[in-house]
Symmetry: C2
Subunit: 113 residues, 2 copies
Amino acid sequence: MKQNSQLFKGSLSTIVLKLLSEQDKMYGYEITRKVKELTAGEVNITEGALYPALHKLEAEGLLTVSIESMGNRPRKYYKLTREGKKEAKNKLAELRDFFLQMQLVLDLQLQLK
Amino acid sequence: MKQNSQLFKGSLSTIVLKLLSEQDKMYGYEITRKVKELTAGEVNITEGALYPALHKLEAEGLLTVSIESMGNRPRKYYKLTREGKKEAKNKLAELRDFFLQMQLVLDLQLQLK
DNA sequence: TAAAATACCTAAGATGTCTATGTATTGCCA
DNA sequence: TGGCAATACATAGACATCTTAGGTATTTTA
């Protein structure tokens, strides 16, 4: 399985916020599966990056957590706070701007939309 | 002047390689001006990031340097090596792929090209 | 003639990611 | 039924890249 050589700095928290803005609640492992599915196996979020990122977003008040157990195995479901919903929009807008600027500098020949 | 809150990891060396693949030779300060110009003042490469990046690319054998002095002020012109030209293509292709995958995950609504 | 622009540089610190490792449960199949 | 893969969480250490903040010196411009 191909690993992402480098996930770009800052993009992970944006991914988490975006997915949660569509999904109401998700748990960590589910997020890694979802990203893998959306990218046909090409992007693999590492757990060593994801869990600290989730904890940080929670500490910043952008996510709340609730534990639900499947049998004896606990899941930690994350959900956007009001603040988190705002930040999701901001981060997405920032990333969109960044991509457009990179397009200006790098002329990436993308055919999107 | 707006600062780039975060330049994305790895994108700087790709920018340098891309610009040099169009320009034959450029010096550091010129690169910062060029990026600023291309993005209408929105993206400002910091010198603290750029100069170490140039030195690293040189150490990796992707760039060669030649000093030309304007009066008493020296300029260090950088130029792609053969290896550097290959790497420029690779890095651009990688970034393009990454952007396409981010589009899949984030649905960024970009209208490019 | 002083400030702004040009042109180079480095050190320290923050940040975010990957690799590696750990624990434990559950599902599957040989 | 025994073991491996998948599920599900977690942390520590290494590493790369970036920002901030400082430094030197020359040239242009107001």
